[in-house]
Symmetry: none
Subunit: 187 residues, 4 copies
Amino acid sequence: MTDSYSKIIEIASQLMSKNGYHATSLQMIADKVEISKSSIFHYFINKEAILLALLKTTIPPAITVLSELANNKDLSGHEKLKRFLQFHMRLLAKKGNILHIYLSESKHLEKRNKKKYMEIKREYTRLVKQIIAQIQQENPNKFKGLNTTIVTNSILGMCNWGVEWYNKKGELTIDEIADQMYLIVYN
Amino acid sequence: MTDSYSKIIEIASQLMSKNGYHATSLQMIADKVEISKSSIFHYFINKEAILLALLKTTIPPAITVLSELANNKDLSGHEKLKRFLQFHMRLLAKKGNILHIYLSESKHLEKRNKKKYMEIKREYTRLVKQIIAQIQQENPNKFKGLNTTIVTNSILGMCNWGVEWYNKKGELTIDEIADQMYLIVYN
Amino acid sequence: MTDSYSKIIEIASQLMSKNGYHATSLQMIADKVEISKSSIFHYFINKEAILLALLKTTIPPAITVLSELANNKDLSGHEKLKRFLQFHMRLLAKKGNILHIYLSESKHLEKRNKKKYMEIKREYTRLVKQIIAQIQQENPNKFKGLNTTIVTNSILGMCNWGVEWYNKKGELTIDEIADQMYLIVYN
Amino acid sequence: MTDSYSKIIEIASQLMSKNGYHATSLQMIADKVEISKSSIFHYFINKEAILLALLKTTIPPAITVLSELANNKDLSGHEKLKRFLQFHMRLLAKKGNILHIYLSESKHLEKRNKKKYMEIKREYTRLVKQIIAQIQQENPNKFKGLNTTIVTNSILGMCNWGVEWYNKKGELTIDEIADQMYLIVYN
DNA sequence: AATGAATGAGGCTTCATTCAT
DNA sequence: AATGAATGAAGCCTCATTCAT
């Protein structure tokens, strides 16, 4: 019964990730879900609510996990980086579409929600930056003389760009990819 | 006369980079250029032609330059990487909007053009990969045991993600940023 | 059980009087009554049936009363006018919303019912006109030389316009208002 | 060329007066004007703008005239009342549809405009009230002991109700009707 | 070269209504 | 008796595009 609800989210994920928010019409979603366009409004007050619902299940939980990791008092910086890469890439592997949508389509949210999700992005970056800073403090030779923000953004870019090329059926598992990324920046 | 032509491209660059292709209407462009909507059709046969024109001035030339660099017989791999990073980041600094549009909006081109620009992306990646491979060959300890494709995509991601955060007025110049990126992956 | 029925009518009265028939959706009514939209269809076959039900309790009874008054053989014209004003204004005080709806929204009834309620309006006017005519006959100096129809419509307008301004909490009671109206036209 | 513009206003006047704002769809207007629905948006940014345009030509000018009359230092109160009745009824004769729309549909304007037009209504009433007060002051026996507001509203109702019954082809001219109304309240 | 007029297609949304439970 | 699911029709509006001038 709430079957349609999940189907809408699932299909919308696929379509919006592939075509973008505006190029995905409710008609397209309805057709694939095999319900009528107006039925969508039983489950979502408007188109944006779909985008929102789809982000909500993935993005806020992610930041909670990252926050715990970054603030963990018992782990070394490089261990945190390793775990971050694994966590983030696993997220990408499992929720690639949603991450893709988040990264590229959240600008289409209305003001309030846009602000909220932009802040999450900033907070996410801030937490990664905190990890990098810890590394620089613990290992004076690592990232020596480098700007913490640049390092942070570079590493995030390295990961996030994965939404463009990561392929579940590729020859490496997502954990192997994460390991390699770790080695690229931390050999 | 060609004044309006360039203005349209310039304004379209800004708007499409900020809002995306579909969320940028011809009316919005016309308003900012201060011409009438129908006048746009004097310069471009349709909306897509604007997107196309705007990409044409930047993307194909870029690949020509990269191609020459990658195929240069006289440079070492790590020198090529250094130069690539500088070149690519300078491109981003100068043509950030267009690069952004290219990376995120070229999916909205019609089939033929989409294919063409997708191929450019693949070719671009291939050329960077060639540089990485040269490094791995020349320096058996660098990127040792790492998958060439993963390294390539990681480095490209590191750079391209810059469209999301690079700020002309930031405290570092684009060349300094490129240098730091080089150090991140090549210290 | 019939609880919901009356609530629907009551809420619909308020909303339709305030917003008009078309601007009042069944959802709005359902929300205020605190039942589901589809439950409304247990009590009324369609939206129009609500409008109809709400008019039925007020309008036809009113004409019965007016008819008896106008046709009373024992009362003088000016006494009838006095009583009409009192009766009509009391109706307005008690059933302002419904009278308002009747006067402004009965055009949205379907053909048959529209015709019926238009005829009631005409009949109502006819009965008031009959009273005016009796006055003109009994008091040759009152409304002398005036067109009976114009006088009738003027007096009805004077009263009906009350739906726009009458306020239960105003400083005058509805009977005092009716008296003053009588004095305006009959000093 | 701006032919369509006036046609839209004219047709919209008729339809909205007859059916009400919400029951008049842009499609109905477009069909009668014989243009396409989307063409309407060349002339009006949205449906409400039509309603607004149609009111603008009639209502604000009317209040200007009434204001001059009410504030005229040289006229007696009863002369002002006579002139007011003539002016208002002529307005009704000439712009019946628009007056009707104003009186019954301005509640559908969006907040800002609704407020503006509600204020005009109040101001209009205030000016008529000023005339009545002048009469009460100059002629201690006229409207003696009557509440100025009630008299004002009654007279306005008498007039405004005309939108429901006045017929250009009736046997009396609008000036004759105005005269009779004057006699009803001022014999 | 430039534009105002016009439009068809399609987008999002509302709404009254039906139906199975 | 009550309702959640579902829908077709219609509403307003946007948009890219065409065309005559």
